[in-house]
Symmetry: C2
Subunit: 313 residues, 2 copies
């Protein structure tokens, strides 16, 4: 069994090296979720690590928000698989000096977001360590399997919600400025699009991925897995209002700013032509699927070169 | 839903604080595995973090052994639930400077141990971070649910294999001495007792826990969960040969040395009186279940006071 093809980059070179050494000892590496059949049912599983200083800073987030945000990232993978979450397991590493209440605060954030999508906290593991980290593993039920494969030329590319809000907050905090309140909420308390993901699958979605590392990189993974080319019209990108303001500060077109933003946890979805319907939140058509490979991003008729986020670049 | 009662200690105070804040948002915290029913099937899930400098040192273990050992710890939890592993998800944090081959080496160790018990690598997540860590989440199928609860007065207490080997290696390496080869293998490449766990459940086991933090502490968790007292005759403890040698160096009775040893990943199991049968490896009767609470450890008719390992003590 081979791994799902991935876009370029040193992070994905590492996944390719792992897939090569594991060979048939691994099944289906490289997608958002592992798909496991149990009896007549199908499960989706995903694991996601958040490390202090890499994924979050304590100055920027409360402990509840650290727990919420790490868990939302994992639940977003389940959303992209059209899964209904059953629950999460949480491995939490904190300094030995952190009191029991600090652990409880992180787990309160975990509990809030997992119950918001109908799941529970199933279990976990506590470890001491100088660097705080939280690894969340989610498990959910799927009715029909959807992944990054399945896009065909002629299909249309859509995105849920608005992009760039989390990046607007991040840029402001990075610069020592107070972030916009709504943008900060997009960063600190992202909403996993579980309900939208299920409605999109019911509505005939062909392929789906969540936007955790920026539109360009995630779209490249989808294109590679489906062996197609994606053409995206950046002018159609739904930009978060705070992204428009922050983009102006940066002297950058709002759509480029929004496309660069990771961690919005919106869904990028491929639908057959002429898709309509209510997915519970706004969704926007931003491009089309063509034969070929890679991703072409255009703004006002010109190609725009953008990279996705790569942990190891 | 309340958490499974746990033994005393600051690590378990943290779990109690988490269970208190989560309330009904959590289900069944405090056991080795989460039990999830999916359709007509029952799954066991467990997550386990290993952190460099806390759980392992690079001078002591190859990268393959880091991957094997972390995964064996998780699979041992599945073994204690009598589960047949389906596979594992692995969140791996390594410095950005580590090359793709280093990631592949860790995952090779993961793949070797998970296939040794019939599972596969289902997926994972790669993250950069200055402190290496690996969090393994295992999923397995169970036919009948067994946990730490279920021991009754009159039952007998057994342990699989031999104890103290991992500790003998650890003490030698800690002192800068070359460890005994067999003891080092117990430390670096522990064998999860999956086959034995399943046979013990089929043979009528009432309660089970894996020995990851030392006999005293793990026995206390089992006693607390089952609301019974466990009386253990240390003279009956099956000691690893290297534990006998190392104990003499330390001037300690071999049985006390072996009881203190964590990370042997043997199974502590409660059987109804008169249990017999072949579990595939040696197993030894070491004590009995009485009404009351806590754990009494005796050697040559005298009580011995021992603590289990506590991450936050």
């Amino acid at each position: 069994v081979t791994a799902t093809p991935l876009g370029p980059g040193p992070e994905f070179d590492r996944i390719r090296a792992i897939a090569a050494v594991l060979g048939s000892r691994a099944t289906g590496l490289g997608d958002d979720c592992a798909i496991v059949r149990v009896g007549t049912k199908t499960l989706a599983l995903s694991t996601d690590a958040s490390v202090e200083g890499v994924h979050f800073r304590r100055e920027w987030l409360s402990l509840e928000e650290v727990g919420w945000r790490a868990t939302a990232g994992c639940l977003s993978d389940l959303a992209a698989a059209g899964a209904l979450p059953i629950g999460v397991l949480v491995a939490l590493t904190m300094p030995a000096a952190d009191p029991p209440a600090a652990f409880a605060s992180v787990m309160d954030g975990v509990g809030r977001v997992v119950t918001s999508v109908g799941g529970t906290v199933l279990g976990g593991d506590l470890t001491k360590g100088d660097v705080r980290s939280i690894t969340v593993t989610g498990i959910g039920r799927v009715e029909s399997v959807i992944g990054r494969q399945g896009a065909r030329p002629g299909d249309e590319l859509w995105v849920t919600g608005e992009l760039g809000g989390a990046r607007a907050a991040w840029m402001a905090m990075q610069a020592g400025r107070e972030p916009d309140t709504a943008a900060r909420a997009r960063f600190a308390l992202p909403v996993p699009r579980v309900a939208a993901g299920r409605r999109l699958v019911e509505g005939g979605a062909r392929a789906m991925i969540d936007l955790s590392d920026g539109l360009a990189g995630d779209a490249r993974h989808l294109a590679a897995a489906s062996r197609v080319m994606l053409r995206i019209d950046l002018a159609q990108l739904p930009c978060h209002p705070a992204a428009r303001v922050e983009a102006e500060t940066q002297g950058e077109p709002a759509e480029v700013f929004a496309a660069k933003g990771g961690e919005d946890y919106e869904l990028l979805v491929v639908m057959p032509p002429g898709a309509t319907g209510n997915v519970g939140i706004a969704w926007s058509r931003i491009g089309q699927v063509e034969s070929g490979e890679g991703v072409v991003l255009e703004l006002a008729g010109r190609a725009v070169a953008l990279e996705g986020y790569d942990h190891f670049a």
